[in-house]
């Protein structure tokens, strides 16, 4: 308990300078319900941070604020010191945020490769006129886009299904396609919303290894929302626990596991 309290108190001042992501007192309300009630934490560059909490704790709401689907009524979200709240949703990817979705949000009728190519959309600029005329520069950029997509197809072992329509694939593979699409934008910060949901034991183990590998090899900072406690505790550097829209604990997996408030939130109190 003491350790956790210390970490919480020290976090904002000590790490503000090198924080990639800073969440500052964010509040979101739906009608009379406070979905997020003053949540603050930092994510350092290169860190793998787990965000956990019982159902309805506000984890996905926070993700939706980070990808500009919801606007907080108060507070601020900073990437490298810059507020993202003024940035339009289609430019979120430009400042280095990519995400996956709990229930997937792929382009179902399109092939695996095309889905990943869309992920790399902002990496090559062109416009309709140059595209229509087929200028050589445009063609080179289109080739670069496709090359980047193929590289990720191989990286995530999707070559066998690269030309299949995404909606024909099993759920586990679709999740990998979505991960590939998110990586195609070369994000600084990767938001993973329950990547282990619907996977079996062996797949979850592989996923854990994969997330760590991606973090190490691709220089990505990862923010992971996950119900699968073993996965979170085994791969995360730091864990933030939300309950009813508030942060109730923050620290290493071991610290959080021993925290009395966390145990109470998950199992209830004895009184």
């Amino acid at each position: 308990m003491n350790a956790v309290a210390y970490a919480t108190a020290a976090a904002p001042s000590a790490s503000a300078a090198q924080a990639l992501l800073a969440v500052r007192d964010v509040r979101v309300r739906f009608g009379g319900i406070a979905a997020l009630d003053g949540v603050s934490f930092d994510v350092k560059s290169g860190e793998l941070l787990g965000l956990i909490g019982p159902n309805g704790a506000g984890k996905t709401t926070l993700f939706n604020c980070l990808s500009r689907l919801y606007a907080p009524v108060a507070g601020d979200i900073l990437i490298e010191g810059r507020s993202i709240l003024e940035i339009p949703p289609h430019r979120i990817v430009d400042i280095g945020i990519s995400r996956t979705f709990q229930n997937l949000a792929l382009f179902g009728s399109m092939s695996v490769l095309d889905n990943i190519r869309v992920g790399a959309h902002r990496r090559s600029r062109s416009n309709f006129l140059t595209d229509a005329v087929g200028l050589p520069g445009t063609r080179r950029r289109d080739a670069a886009l496709t090359g980047a997509a193929w590289e990720l197809v191989d990286y995530l072992d999707l070559r066998d299904v690269a030309m299949r329509a995404v909606s024909d694939l099993p759920f586990g593979l679709q999740k990998r396609v979505e991960l590939a699409r998110a990586l195609a934008a070369r994000p600084k910060l990767l938001l993973l919303d329950e990547p282990a949901g619907g996977l079996n034991h062996e797949e979850v183990d592989n996923l854990g290894r994969l997330i760590r590998t991606i973090r190490d090899e691709r220089n990505v900072t990862v923010l992971l929302v996950e119900h699968h406690m073993n996965l979170v505790m085994s791969i995360c550097d730091k864990v933030v626990v939300l309950d009813f829209g508030r942060k109730i604990a923050e620290g290493t997996p071991a610290q959080v596991r021993a925290d009395r408030d966390v145990i109470a939130a998950y199992l209830g109190t004895a009184e």
Binding site: V93, L106, S124
Partner: protein, 292 residues
């Protein structure tokens, strides 16, 4: 056998025009989930623009390109001014606006160019190709232009970055936006391209059906039939559907007694009803599954 082949070929020629119109309908449907009832009138108006340019002395090619370019810009303007403000409105608001656009374009064309039927030139001549008057050189040229355009569109949607972004925006706007696609722009672009495709279709079919403000009414029904056969969500399906409708229409008119010339339009309507009853998602469409 020759008669069959020639009739099928003639059907393919008009079918290529239906295919273009069906494709324009599907492009807008994919972008905003509504059927553009004014698609035919937009094409008619574009054809009048081409005619007017030629009246002012422009050569055919310039009139063709000029009308297509005008339609592209006008299509974008229609989306921005009329449909973007109501994009969250219920389906009936859209239908009313489409019908208004239909009526306005029809009357405006009549007001500016009157309702007299005008002839429209063809650059391909009108020689009969097989000596029996079934397939003309214009039919062949029209087919060539339509197919070239369809192939170019295929390449555009398959292989260019913007084409890919347009497909993504239609498939899942929220997710496309997070990948950095400017969804609003893609919808505008879809309208512009649909209008330009309609212009090409109108200019190609005008020498056959002649130019007047009501020239596209029945052709639009065939276009709808093609789009419905293809399943409304699949561009490739729309093209296939348009071609199939053209061939079926022609063969039925030839071989089924009583159908003749007069009942041909009924065939298009029959196809629409049959497909919607037997397989509402069309031959290539996807059944819409919603998580409730």
């Amino acid at each position: 056998m020759d008669l069959f082949l020639h009739q099928a070929l003639a059907g393919l020629a008009t079918g290529s025009i239906y295919a273009c119109l069906a494709l324009a309908i599907v492009m807008i449907y994919a972008a905003i989930n509504h059927l553009n009832f004014a698609q035919g009138e937009m094409a008619m108006f574009s054809t009048f623009i081409a005619w007017q340019l030629m009246q002012w002395g422009a050569p055919y090619l310039l009139a063709f390109v000029g009308a297509a370019a005008f339609s592209f810009v006008a299509g974008i303007a229609v989306e921005r001014v009329l449909f973007r403000p109501i994009h969250k409105a219920p389906v009936l608001s859209h239908i009313v606006l489409f019908i208004a656009l239909f009526a306005i374009l029809n009357s405006l064309a009549g007001f500016i160019w009157d309702y007299n039927v005008k002839s429209f030139p063809t650059p391909f001549g009108s020689r009969s190709l097989f000596g029996n008057g079934l397939v003309s050189s214009h039919d062949a040229g029209m087919m060539g232009v339509a197919f070239t355009m369809l192939v170019l569109l295929y390449v555009f949607f398959r292989h260019t970055r913007i084409g890919l972004a347009m497909r993504a925006a239609a498939a899942n706007p929220e997710s496309a936006r997070l990948a950095g696609v400017r969804v609003g722009r893609m919808i505008s672009l879809g309208w512009g391209m649909a209008a330009a495709i309609g212009a090409v279709a109108g200019i190609m079919i005008a020498p056959v059906v002649f130019l007047d403000p009501n020239m596209m009414t029945s052709i639009l029904v065939y276009g709808f039939a093609g789009a419905v056969v293809g399943g409304l969500t699949s561009p490739g399906g729309a093209v296939f559907g348009g071609l199939a409708v053209g061939i079926i229409e022609n063969l039925a008119g030839t071989y089924i007694p009583y159908v003749g010339r007069e009942l041909r339009l009924t065939i298009a309507l029959f196809i629409i009803v049959a497909v919607l009853t037997a397989k509402p998602s069309g031959l290539f469409g996807r059944a819409i599954v919603t998580r409730v």
